[in-house]
Symmetry: C2
Subunit: 151 residues, 2 copies
C-alpha cells in the first residue's frame, strides 16, 4: 500500500528540508557540547569510544576490522589508522587470524576496557545533559524511531 503523503518527486518538500537541516544542526550542536565535555575531562576523541564499545560487546572482546567498519560506519582507511592509534595507546592489539591470511583480529586490552569505562563516566552524563534533559522519554523514543527510518 502506497503512502500518499510520501513523495518520490524531485523537489524536496519544506518539511523534508527542515528535517534534514535540523538533523545536521542538531548533531553538530550536541556533538560540540559532548566533545567539549570530553576535552574538559582530558579524554581521547569521542570516535575512539565506538570502536572500544563494539569490541567490549563482541564475544571474546575481539572483532575483525571489516566488522568494526560495518558497525561504526567508519571508512576502511580511517579505521585502519584509528586502530594504529589505539594500538599505540595500548588500548587494543592486533592478532593474527589463522583461518584467513588476509585477516586479523583486533582485540581489546584491559587498558582498553578501563578506558572505555572511564570514557563512559563522562559520555553517559554528557548524553543525558545535552540530549536527555531536552526530551521527555516519549519524545526520545519517538526521535529514535524516526531516525531509524533514515537508515
Amino acid at each position: 500500500m502506497a503512502d500518499e503523503t510520501k513523495n518520490d518527486g524531485e523537489r524536496p518538500r519544506p518539511e523534508t528540508t527542515e528535517a534534514w537541516i535540523g538533523l545536521m544542526r542538531a548533531r553538530e550542536r550536541v556533538l560540540a557540547r559532548i566533545e567539549a565535555d570530553f576535552k574538559a575531562s582530558g579524554l581521547p576523541p569521542l570516535g575512539w569510544y565506538d570502536v572500544l564499545w563494539e569490541l567490549v560487546q563482541a564475544e571474546g572482546g575481539r572483532l575483525r576490522p571489516f566488522e568494526i567498519e560495518a558497525r561504526t560506519l567508519l571508512a576502511q582507511y580511517n579505521l585502519s589508522r584509528l586502530i594504529d592509534r589505539l594500538v599505540k595507546e595500548g588500548l587494543v592489539r592486533r592478532e593474527t587470524f589463522d583461518a584467513d591470511g588476509r585477516g586479523q583480529w583486533v582485540v581489546i586490552t584491559e587498558a582498553g576496557r578501563a578506558m572505555r569505562a572511564r570514557m563512559w563516566l563522562t559520555y553517559g552524563p554528557s548524553i543525558e545533559a545535552h540530549v536527555g534533559a531536552r526530551l521527555t522519554e516519549a519524545e526520545a523514543r519517538q526521535l529514535a524511531g524516526l531516525l531509524a527510518k533514515l537508515r
Copy 2:
C-alpha cells in the same frame, strides 16, 4: 512546572542513548548518500552550499565572516580558510568593511549564485530521495520539531 518524564540525573536513559546514537548514525548514512550524489555530479563539497546559501539569503548578498560563522556553526578558523577557497574559485569576494577596521564583507559573486543554484539541482532531489522518500510529511514535521529541541 517540572516535567516528570525528563531526567536531570547522571545516567542516560536507554531511550536517550538510542536517540543520540540514532542521530549520529542517521546523519552519517544520509550524508554519505548525499555526498555520493554530489561527487557523481562533479560538485564541490557540500559544506560550500551552506555558505553560499546564507549569502544569497542575506541582504545585498553579503555577510561578515562572524555572521556566517553563527549561521553555519563553522569554526572560525575553518570558515576563514573556506572563504579562501571560495575566493580562489571566484564564488565570493572579500570587501573592506569601513565601519570597523577589523571586519570585512564576504560578497557572493554571480558565479557564486550560479554555483549555488547548480548545486541545488543535485542537493534538492538528493534530500528528497534520501530523507523525504523515507518519511511521511507528518513524520518529517515531527522529526524537525524534535530535532529543534536539541538546540
